[in-house]
């Protein structure tokens, strides 16, 4: 595993448009019911990709395939190949636990651990043994919080509980927690849906900054948000990928009528 400092550099050298995550013919079933139908897409390395689509269209299910969080749902079954850095994450010998340290995740509702701010960030590095000493751990915590734009606000109260922060701060804490294990991909499942506009603006700003270093996939129900933060947009409908392309193109000149209807608010 690459260390905290060199990981972003490695990504930074690659072509921003090169595919970081390559999905090939993904099908997902819940018991006998098929939720995702034959989706293939290349997610670029240093860009923000937005997933949009009506509720229940399979955005989350697809997103959770990328770090194998669907493994925790007993009835879920995933077929197809998802290749990250030349390795199929669905293959037998990939350890989902290790995979998740490379593919971080931020959830819809801010879910900090009921522990101190410091411990929230330090937990991941601790279990993966990323820090050899207390100083290194302190450094990781500071770097992560700084990158998440939270350091200035919390540096004086690291031992106080993370659950005591405001909703927006909690969500940035969760992003910092994801960053702390130096992932290459960050998946965000509607990270702003529980936040007020000001906190949302801060997160969006943050996402824009993080795009320099990470491959980010964000699910959102806000067309404006997708337009503001993403470079690529994928539109899902009824478990199928309808349209995937440059955000600008998708919003101004969609090739499919359903996309057009959705982004203009005619359904969904």
């Amino acid at each position: 595993m690459t260390s905290m400092t060199e990981a972003p550099a490695a990504i930074a050298q690659t072509d921003p448009e090169a595919a970081k995550v390559r999905c090939e013919n993904i099908d997902v079933f819940y018991d006998d019911k098929q939720a995702i139908f034959d989706i293939s897409m290349d997610i670029p390395a240093r860009a923000v990709t937005a997933f949009i689509g009506p509720s229940g269209c399979g955005k989350s299910t697809f997103l959770r395939c990328i770090n194998r969080m669907n493994d925790t749902i007993e009835s879920a079954r995933v077929e197809g190949r998802i290749v990250i850095d030349g390795e199929n994450v669905n293959s037998e010998h990939v350890d989902p636990v290790l995979l998740r340290s490379q593919v971080g995740m931020v959830f819809q509702k801010p879910n900090p651990f009921p522990k101190s701010i410091f411990d929230n960030i330090a937990y991941g590095p601790r279990i993966h043994g990323l820090a050899q000493s207390k100083e290194e751990l302190d450094e990781i915590v500071e770097t992560s919080l700084t990158r998440a734009g939270l350091w200035e606000e919390v540096k004086d109260r690291l031992p106080s509980p993370g659950t005591g922060l405001s909703g927006g701060q909690q969500q940035r804490l969760c992003i910092a927690r994801a960053i702390a294990v130096s992932p290459e991909v960050i998946l965000m499942d509607e990270p702003c849906s529980a936040l007020d506009p000001i906190a949302t603006a801060k997160i969006e700003e943050l996402i824009d900054e993080l795009r320099e270093r990470y491959c980010i996939v964000i699910i959102t129900h806000s067309m404006q948000q997708a337009a503001r933060v993403s470079q690529k947009t994928a539109f899902f409908h009824l478990g199928k990928l309808i349209e995937f392309g440059e955000t600008e193109t998708v919003f101004t000149n969609p090739s499919d009528d359903r996309t057009q209807d959705y982004i203009t608010g005619r359904f969904g």
Partner: protein
């Protein structure tokens, strides 16, 4: 048109609204009534047990000025203190001599002497033997020791045995000996300044003649039994003290509410007790023995200590079995087990197990732990194992509920940063569920503490006069002691039982308090 419609709608709406408010008030009232009923019963329970138990927490003790003759008290010489401590017979000998000295008339017959010695049981001298052994310097000196009064006489002094009608006569005008021994008159007649008509009426009202009720006449330390009374004259048989004490005195008369044949103490014993009390030799004090003694066949010296220790050992075994197994099973079922038909069956059966009557667990314990494994009978080890099995389903169910109550977002968060399933459970889910698990475990344990039936079946009802030293020793438990004492024939077991119940309830309240405290403490972290 529109207006009529709207009025009717409003009327109906108002009526419905009123109905709804009435229903709400009614429901609140039902709730308040049921709470009042519950509290009423609780108060009734506490008051009835408490009032009974209070009597057992104090008792009467007789003081003796004993000259500790080394030859009687220290059979192996003053050096062997162990022999002194165990020499209950020697001390009882001294107590008997002292009693006989106080009431020499009892020596006239063997039966009377036995009655006199019945004031204090032999085992009541154990404390004085131990105290002497601790202070061998007292040998040869005269020391004041106290010994517990026999249970029935103790209850008599507490007024718990029978109704007693008391009245004062007027001052004695003249006393006339009828029979005498070298020590003085033993039967006498006396006249009082006023007529004795009031006493005669009281005796007739009580039906003393027909029911064979005894009447005692007391003047200071002297107590006599009334034989006959006419308006001018009263004859009585002297039971304790000297007839001379009646001269010029104002005697008290007690009409005892039960005939001698219907109570466990004789007229003589009551007379002696009254006499000792008048001399200041009987005093009421706190009954520490109840908490510091082991069980005994004599209620006045029986205590709950052995049962408390037995219960503590039992609970230790129960906790060390039920909590790890129960919590482990709950974690596995809730967090790891695949949702299959088999786990469904297991789940249903755990719930079934919680509903199995406790006596069935006792049978299982007797069959498996005693017969197959050959564990010792009557031991807290087996009791704890049986109660552990009994508590297991409760703990599993409570723990699973506590685990389920932890928001899934915490699991997601842990898995999201790359924690394994086990790490997510032990680092995050379990600490959050701990207060709920602990509460469930302690409540389960409190239930086990009060369990009687299974312990009866594995022989923990044995009479245990020694405080157990370990979980493999013979022991009994508090609820079993309550059961055993409640079946005791003597009256004094009744307040003792209530006192044991108070001790048991105290333990339960303490455990519940600990549960609440732990929950508060852990919840603050979250």
């Amino acid at each position: 048109m529109t207006e009529t419609v709207s009025t009717t709608r409003t009327e109906r709406a108002t009526r419905r609204l009123k109905q709804r408010y009435r229903a709400e008030r009614r429901f609140k009232l039902y709730g308040q009534i049921s709470i009042a009923i519950a509290l009423g019963f609780l108060a009734l329970l506490v008051v009835s047990i408490g009032s009974q138990a209070i009597s057992a927490f104090s008792n009467h003790k007789v003081s003796f000025d004993l000259t500790l003759a080394p030859e009687t008290v220290a059979p192996n010489g003053p050096g062997d203190t162990e022999a002194i401590a165990e020499n209950v017979s020697g001390f009882y000998e001294l107590v008997r001599e002292d009693l006989l000295e106080a009431f020499p008339a009892a020596s006239q017959s063997r039966a009377l002497e036995t009655e006199l010695y019945g004031l204090v049981t032999r085992l009541a001298t154990i404390p004085m033997a131990r105290q002497t052994a601790d202070n061998p310097g007292r040998l040869g000196e005269t020391v004041t020791y106290r010994a517990v009064l026999s249970d029935d006489l103790d209850l008599y002094l507490k007024g718990a045995v029978m109704d007693e009608q008391r009245m004062r006569l007027s001052a004695v005008a003249a006393i006339d000996p009828l029979e005498a021994s070298p020590a003085g008159a033993t039967r006498f007649a006396l006249t009082t300044e006023a007529s004795l008509q009031q006493l005669i009426t009281a005796l007739e009202d009580a039906g003393a003649q027909d029911r064979g009720l005894s009447t005692l006449v007391q003047a200071g330390p002297a107590v006599a039994k009334l034989e006959d009374v006419t308006p001018g004259r009263l004859t009585a048989q002297l039971y304790a003290g000297r007839a001379e004490d009646f001269r010029g005195a104002v005697p008290t008369v007690r009409i005892l509410g039960l005939p001698e044949t219907e109570r466990n103490m004789t007229d003589h014993q009551i007379a002696w007790t009254l006499s000792l009390k008048d001399q200041g030799r009987i005093q009421r004090g706190l009954n520490w023995a109840l908490l510091t003694n082991a069980d005994s066949t004599y209620p006045e010296i029986a205590g709950v200590l052995a049962a408390i220790v037995g219960s503590v050992f039992t609970m230790l075994v129960t906790a060390s079995i039920a909590i790890p197994v129960g919590v482990g099973a709950a974690i596995y079922l809730e967090e790891f087990a695949p949702k299959s038909r088999l786990t469904g069956i297991i789940e249903v059966n755990i719930n079934n197990l919680a509903a199995v009557p406790s006596i069935v667990f006792g049978l299982l314990g007797a069959a498996v732990f005693l017969n197959v494994f050959g564990f010792p009978r009557s031991a807290p080890l087996v009791g704890g194992l049986v109660l552990g099995l009994l508590t297991l389903p409760t703990i599993i169910i409570a723990s699973r509920a506590a685990l389920r109550a932890v928001p899934p977002s915490i699991r997601d968060a842990a898995l999201g940063v790359g924690a394994s399933r086990t790490q997510a459970v032990f680092h995050h889910v379990l600490p959050l569920a701990a207060p709920g698990i602990l509460t469930g475990a302690i409540i389960g344990m409190a239930r086990a503490l009060g369990e009687t039936a299974p312990l009866l079946l594995i022989g923990m009802v044995a009479f245990v006069a020694e405080v157990p030293a370990g979980p493999a020793d013979e022991a009994t438990a508090l609820p079993v002691l309550v059961f055993k004492w409640s079946t005791g024939a003597e009256r004094a077991w009744e307040p003792n039982t209530a006192a044991a119940i108070v001790v048991l309830l105290t333990f339960m309240v303490m455990m519940n308090a600990v549960a609440v405290l732990l929950r508060r403490r852990f919840e603050r972290r979250w």
